[in-house]
């Protein structure tokens, strides 16, 4: 099953690549439309839009998913129901492809809901309590986005069809479009885990590592960004876009800080994904959709590679994910640490790896166009924080001493996993330059002063020095976290946002509902409607029975009495 799906998806990737090159070189885009039903004034059509953006994204999605499925043949080989897992992954890929190729809100809804549902099924795949809670958090946060898209479908019925791309040019100043833009931004924020909804992404690391590599690094979380890229013409001078800018740079900043306090390997990688997502959203909301798309694609490559290396390491460490138990691994697993290092450095934006092209372009565009001081500071600070936690991770995992028990099982030669990682390694080295040659037919004009140009390097060097210094722990080091406990817990626990989604939502309502239940359901409503009315009726019935069980003569006499009364009152 694994091999079949790997070959199918790889072949699909090659087809997409061929068509992508053909379409972008000739400037083509193809639109298929099939009318399913037309009733009153709306017509439901199934449409497929193939332009270079959707083909490129499909190529990347199918590449990553084929490699991940091949990887999971070895990673999950002790799993009894591997076929179930592969089928879930394939259904996920199908929903993602449906989302990518659809210019039609209803098929976007199908893909979006499919993504949410299948990611829930994949997060709860290991059936323990932590996965259950993580799955609940994931599914319900995604559900808010689903509701928003449903409401958009309802509002778009004003225009007569659900193909939104036709209405952007004509209806920009309409009130309906205003509402739609608000809702689409909220939907994208829930899927891509921006600030009010960002607690599900670190929690969803309870999923198996191949799932994290596919879903939570490159496909599910980028669906929101992709949707906003498609809606970009609508949103570009709306007010909520500026709100999105604010929230996304805060997301970038917050997750960069929180990743520095984390000790769980997959959570660090999740928070770095969150930081890069914030970066993508913020550059999108500044008005550069193609750069956001570029960064989306290169990020997909190296983040999936990073997750896969983390998977190999977790297997080796006997399923321990805590980085305090690791150290010095670069000596024993050279090929895996090669992949880990290249993806980490690509994440930091080291020159001429793939991440450099997109990240550096973003930072230079931010410096070149005149934006807010806060925007500028947070962008560069977050870049520095990225380098900070990356170097901290490298120090903990690769360079410091090995901290696990004395039994070594550091086994690198699992060629299935390694071959899959090599594919992504190749792509994460080269995809930056290759994509920039394709997507940007002419380069952006950027003219910066010398120090501003080198600002990236200054910030990176500062971050790396700090990362090195923070990870030098000795027996006699002072635990500074305890000295600044309040601030540290604020920064470490993601600015208390998980409490907003979990404890804050459930505690108050459950408490209130307990009060209601005891006082009303088991209290007053028993007297006023349950047992109380029954007692009243029973008493009436008993009272009546006293009259029923009577002398027979009394009945007859009462009849005569009635007539006497009638006679007396009406004939005198």
């Amino acid at each position: 099953m694994c091999f079949n799906s790997f070959f199918f998806l790889f072949f699909f990737m090659l087809i997409n690549f061929f068509f992508f090159v053909y379409f972008i070189m000739n400037g083509l885009s193809v639109f298929f439309e099939w009318e399913i039903i037309s009733f009153n004034s709306m017509s439901i059509v199934m449409s497929i839009l193939l332009d270079w953006m959707s083909l490129l994204f499909m190529m990347f999605v199918s590449l990553i998913s084929s490699v991940v499925i091949f990887y999971s043949k070895s990673y999950m080989n002790s799993e009894l129901n591997l076929n179930r897992f592969i089928i879930l992954v394939l259904m996920f890929v199908f929903s993602m492809v449906l989302l990518i190729i659809s210019p039609n809100l209803i098929s976007i809804l199908l893909g979006w809901d499919g993504l949410g549902l299948i990611s829930y099924c994949l997060v709860i795949y290991y059936q323990n309590l932590k996965s259950y809670n993580a799955g609940m958090l994931t599914a319900l946060s995604n559900r808010i986005g689903d509701v928003m898209i449903l409401m958009i479908i309802c509002w778009v019925m004003n225009y007569g069809s659900w193909n939104y791309i036709f209405y952007f040019d004509f209806m920009k100043n309409d009130y309906v479009m205003f509402i739609i833009s608000f809702m689409i931004i909220i939907a994208a924020m829930t899927k891509s885990a921006q600030i009010p909804f960002s607690s599900w992404l670190p929690a969803a690391m309870a999923a198996p590592t191949p799932v994290s590599a596919l879903v939570h690094s490159s496909t599910l979380v980028t669906a929101g960004v992709y949707l906003l890229i498609r809606f970009n013409y609508l949103l570009i001078d709306m007010f909520f876009f500026k709100v999105l800018l604010f929230l996304s740079i805060l997301t970038m900043f917050m997750s960069g800080i929180s990743a520095n306090y984390e000790f769980d390997l997959k959570k660090i990688i999740a928070l770095s994904t969150l930081s890069q997502l914030g970066l993508m959203m913020s550059i999108l909301s500044l008005g550069f959709p193609d750069i956001a798309f570029f960064h989306l694609l290169t990020h997909a490559m190296f983040k999936a590679l990073l997750f896969m290396c983390a998977g190999v390491i977790i297997h080796m460490m006997n399923d321990i994910q805590d980085i305090r138990y690791m150290g010095g691994l670069s000596l024993y697993i050279p090929l895996t640490s090669l992949c880990l290092n290249i993806s980490n450095l690509s994440l930091c934006g080291i020159p001429f790896l793939s991440g450099f092209y997109s990240k550096d372009l973003i930072l230079e565009m931010v410096s070149f166009n005149s934006f807010n001081l806060m925007v500028f500071i947070l962008f560069y600070l977050s870049t520095g924080l990225t380098v900070f936690y990356t170097f901290r991770l490298i120090m903990y995992v690769m360079i410091n001493d090995f901290n696990l028990m004395m039994i070594y099982n550091l086994y690198d030669e699992d060629y299935i996993m390694l071959n899959s990682m090599f594919v992504l390694l190749f792509m994460s080295l080269l995809s930056g330059s290759f994509l920039s040659w394709f997507i940007f037919s002419y380069p952006y004009m950027i003219y910066l002063p010398f120090n501003l140009k080198l600002m990236v390097i200054y910030v990176s060097i500062l971050g790396s020095i700090l990362g090195f210094m923070v990870s030098n722990m000795g027996i006699y080091s002072l635990n500074k976290l305890l000295l600044s406990y309040n601030l540290s817990s604020f920064l470490c626990l993601m600015w208390f946002m998980p409490n907003l989604s979990t404890y804050g939502l459930s505690y108050i309502y459950l408490n209130f509902s307990q009060i209601l239940f005891k006082n009303i359901d088991m209290g007053w409503s028993e007297i006023y409607s349950g047992k109380g009315i029954f007692n009243i009726l029973k008493n009436y019935s008993v009272f009546y029975n006293i009259y029923q069980m009577n002398n027979f003569k009394i009945y007859l006499f009462s009849f005569i009495l009635w007539f006497m009364i009638l006679f007396i009152f009406f004939f005198i």
């Binding site: 008993v542 009259y547 009945y555 007539f563």
Partner: protein, 340 residues
């Protein structure tokens, strides 16, 4: 009834049964009030031999009670007819005379507030005699009521019927008394339907008597008179299902047959803006359904009480039971094909 009479080798009773039928026909098809009264008297006279059985002291007492009440009502009826002729010279006006005539007819029927004899007598009769009392004996007083009724008085009586029928039955354990109180309640619906149209009354009456027939024949075949006898015997599934369906149909629950006449009456009520009366109809129906369900709820639970050492042999009568269940369930839907 025929079956019962034939099995008991009592052909005298067959004779009285025929006279009973003819007396009702005389009463409802006569030109003058006097003829109506004659029909009522012959009705009384021919019913008494049907219910009295000189070997049983209880049935003798019951027949005596029945005779006393009905004859008092008939005397009153005759007297009021004569007063009407002499005072009003054959003019029909809606006044006190109509109230008096209606109350004597109501006593004949066993409707509130003159209903006190009804549960007592029902307790003393066998099931088939009860069936006669609850269905056939109501025809002629009802139709006579429709000839000369006082609307305000009758609406007040309807409300009393409904309330007494529902509240009185809450505290009963005898199945006969329960059906008696339900009959008083249904009398309320029937009197209102007479005020709307006689056709509607006929419809309600037919469906009601069909449902009562199914219930009573079931109880008769199983020889059950009290609530504690209901589930002690080991009834098979179809009998319990039949019991369930027929009781719910009698209570007026929607997919069953008994809902249809009540629906039509409520339709009329709401169109003609009798809102408060609708409310009373609804609420008393709920109380009635409560005590029906109290009887039958054990039959539709998964865990029910079953005594295995008592066996109920009902092999010969299954077709009647199946047919009656089928009719109760499917009549509403099949009627849409007929009355399309």
């Amino acid at each position: 009834m025929f079956f019962f009479i034939l099995t008991n080798n009592n052909s005298n009773k067959m004779f009285f049964l025929f006279i009973l039928f003819f007396s009702t026909l005389i009463s409802i098809s006569s030109n003058s009030w006097f003829g109506c009264w004659i029909g009522l008297e012959i009705n009384l006279l021919s019913f008494i031999p049907l219910i009295s059985n000189s070997k049983n002291l209880l049935s003798v007492e019951t027949s005596l009670k029945y005779f006393l009440t009905q004859s008092l009502a008939s005397i009153n009826f005759l007297f009021m007819i004569l007063i009407k002729f002499s005072l009003l010279k054959n003019f029909n006006m809606n006044n006190i005379i109509s109230i008096m005539m209606n109350s004597s007819l109501l006593m004949k029927m066993g409707s509130a507030p003159f209903h006190f004899w009804f549960p007592n007598i029902v307790e003393g009769l066998s099931w088939m005699n009860n069936f006669m009392l609850m269905t056939w004996q109501k025809i002629s007083p009802m139709i006579l009521l429709s000839y000369y009724f006082n609307k305000n008085f009758l609406i007040f009586m309807i409300i009393m019927n409904l309330i007494i029928g529902s509240l009185g039955g809450l505290n009963q354990t005898s199945l006969r008394k329960l059906l008696a109180f339900s009959s008083i309640n249904n009398l309320g619906w029937m009197i209102f339907s007479i005020m709307i149209s006689e056709n509607l009354w006929l419809f309600y009456f037919l469906i009601y008597s069909m449902m009562i027939f199914m219930m009573i024949s079931l109880f008769f075949l199983m020889n059950m008179y009290f609530m504690n006898q209901l589930f002690i015997n080991n009834m098979n599934f179809f009998i319990k299902l039949n019991l369930l369906i027929n009781f719910l149909s009698l209570g007026g629950l929607p997919p069953f047959m008994g809902f249809m006449p009540k629906w039509i009456i409520i339709n009329f009520l709401l169109i003609n803006k009798f809102y408060f009366l609708t409310f009373i109809f609804m609420m008393t129906s709920l109380i009635i359904i409560y005590y029906y369900i109290r009887i039958i709820y054990s039959s539709f639970m998964f865990n029910y009480f079953k005594m295995k050492w008592v066996n109920l042999l009902m092999k010969n009568n299954m077709s009647l039971i199946n047919l009656s269940s089928f009719i109760s369930i499917s009549s509403m839907i099949l009627s849409t094909f007929i009355f399309m």
